[in-house]
Amino acid sequence: MKYDLATLLSQLPRGQQGRKADFLKCDLATLLSQLPRGQQGRKAVFMAITAASTVEKVREKFPQAIVETVEFRGEQTIVLQPEHLVAVCAHLQKNLQYTFLSSITAVHWPERLPRFDVVYHLLSIPNRSELRLKLRVGEKREEHPSVPTVVSVWPGANWYEREVYDLFGITFAGHPDLRRILMPMDWTTHPLRKDYPLSGFDLPEPHWGGQVPYDTDPGVGSQTLRTPNGRELNENRTRFTQNQEPGTEKR
């Protein structure tokens, strides 16, 4: 008995027979036919949207929000003012079909002011176009810069923002559940910052983890963790309640 695609589908239980049509080639026509019904007439508009035209459209609609736009290796980047982020994202998601948020991440530039880039990678599935948004945050002495959350636009941003908070210490205002995701819950520092040492902390005396700054451990909580160039890293935990992470809003 042969099991090519057609025979396999014909062998499906009876309720599933109607699904044959779903196993199709992924061409542009199929993609367009998958659009919601009200959108079908706008095919011509969607065909025209590319990353470059998106940049122009955002520039027209939000002239005050754009700091600069960059093109490198064919990839479009829009640098935005943080306060306009949610409005721009909502516009991109609703009107320009950027329904898929690929990732959110950050880059630490300790020598520069503002010190952090927060980077959003967007994808428009109907238009096959990709776009990068960028914010620059973190003024002098601002230990935990704050960025508005985009969870209301893309629910999937939840975990990415938690990851950025965990590894960089950037907080997201309005996030429903901002807590650490990869590091242990009682970790006090943010490892992907450039001043965080690669090979652990130099503790004054040997300790079971060598590099675990648990403040529940009486031997470690009283010690000060320093980077190789002497910058103090751990935050004063006594200012926070048990349930509150440093940098987050009080629940």
Partner: protein, 412 residues
């Protein structure tokens, strides 16, 4: 995690008296991190009422190895080996994504010869089959079908033999590297791949015989772990999870990389978004991958196995004794590495789990200033609470298996 929530595991919470006088207790239990069906070290904090799951909070990070941090201290070539360790069931697909990103950053995409592209596609598709075989075996064993596991690993061994033949290593090959391949493809490579492709089609038929129309399998998977297309898109799910929900999307078709536009293959798409659809999508994907492997074997061009650019790939060893310039290039490459221009790139590829993205920022030095990995399993795991909301406790295992997570990639 709120402290209180952590401490409440294995407890019966305050019982409430419902209208008809019944006591309704909810219980919070811990599934994992050392549970065989969580496919690694995933911990789920499940709130159950009777046998129904009413809340699920995934807790990840047990396998966090700081790969992104480590990569900042390695040269571009050294950071390649870290990518193997993320999705350890598909290391070659990770190598491919990373290599494409570095090549884009260097601006040498046009120098990559057709032969390199074909070998890369061939190996990536074999890797996809191998990854799906592990998924099928473990998914089936989770749901009580022991023998499928043994058959799947039998075929996976043949693929790993191919990798061993070509690179000397079975799993963490690092064979695909920025600038081409690590070494020349050995003679007899065709035969060993054909040995696999000639039998695999029949073996795939056997798996279909075992599971696809098996009543027990249908009962465990049909209508379980439903995920709607809207939710899958909104939460950034990708790969077979997204296609199982009926969204026609594959990066190999949408943004063809490494010469995928030259191959003829279909994208299987489900429609119900349940565990069975995701199962069928992956099963049919293996068929398509086999088709691509066969096409790559047929049309394999000849040519160099790495770019002829001494700033990126070392010159042949025999030149070093005769040419001062070659010696200098060799020395510079292995002591210092190459220096891409200042800039940033994001390259997305279709790994067996979904969209694998590499975001690399260069500050002009020989080490990546920042390497971020968009891990497909990370986003796919985020939709797990949606899938199992209101499911029975036993179906949680089916839902986790159908996502095909690799915790090395989730936690990085």
């Amino acid at each position: 995690m709120q402290q209180q929530e952590i401490e409440n595991v294995y407890t019966v919470e305050d019982s409430q008296i419902s209208e008809d006088g019944q006591r309704t207790d909810t219980m919070t239990i811990n599934m994992g991190p050392q549970h065989p069906s969580t496919h690694g070290v995933l911990r789920l904090i499940l709130t159950i009422e009777g046998e129904t799951v009413i809340k699920c909070v995934p807790d990840i990070g047990f396998l966090h190895t700081g790969i992104e941090k480590t990569a900042e201290a390695k040269t571009y070539h050294q950071a390649l080996v870290l990518t193997d360790r993320m999705d350890y069931l598909a290391p070659l697909c990770n190598n491919l994504g990373y290599s494409l990103a570095v090549e884009k950053l260097l601006g040498i995409e046009n120098e990559i010869s057709d032969k390199i592209k074909y070998v890369r596609v061939l190996l990536a598709e074999l890797q996809r089959i191998a990854s799906h075989l592990v998924w099928l075996g473990t998914h089936a064993i989770d749901l009580g079908a022991m023998s499928v596991f043994l058959y799947c690993f039998r075929e996976r061994e043949m693929i790993l033999d191919v990798f061993e033949y070509v690179s000397g290593v079975r799993m963490m090959t690092s064979y695909i590297c920025p600038g081409g391949l690590q070494a020349e493809v050995p003679a007899g490579f065709d035969d060993i791949v054909r040995k696999f492709t000639s039998i695999f089609s029949d073996r795939l038929r056997e798996y279909h015989d075992l599971l696809t129309n098996n009543q027990l399998w249908l009962e465990r998977t049909k209508g379980v772990g439903h995920l709607s297309a809207e939710d899958a898109l909104a939460y950034g799910a990708s790969g077979p999870v997204l296609r199982g929900s009926g969204v026609v999307w594959d990066i190999r078709k949408a943004f063809p990389y490494s010469g995928y536009e030259k191959f003829d293959f279909d994208i299987p798409v489900g429609s119900n978004g349940d565990v069975y659809d995701r199962y069928l999508v992956r099963m049919l994907e293996m068929d398509q991958s086999l088709k691509i492997v066969n096409q790559a074997l047929e049309g394999m061009p000849t040519g160099p196995y790495r770019v002829q650019n001494p700033k990126v790939a070392p010159p042949p060893k025999w030149q070093i004794t005769g040419s001062m310039e070659a010696l200098i290039h060799h020395f510079k490459l292995f002591t210092e590495g190459y220096r891409p221009p200042v800039g940033e790139v994001y390259v997305r590829t279709e790994s067996p789990k979904g969209e694998l993205g590499f975001y690399i920022v260069s500050d002009g030095s020989a080490k990546p200033y920042r390497m971020h990995v968009r891990a497909p399993s990370f986003a796919n795991l985020e939709v797990l609470p949606l899938m199992i909301d209101g499911c029975l406790l036993a179906d949680v295992v089916a839902a986790i298996g159908s996502i095909d997570i690799v915790l090395g990639e989730v936690d990085r």
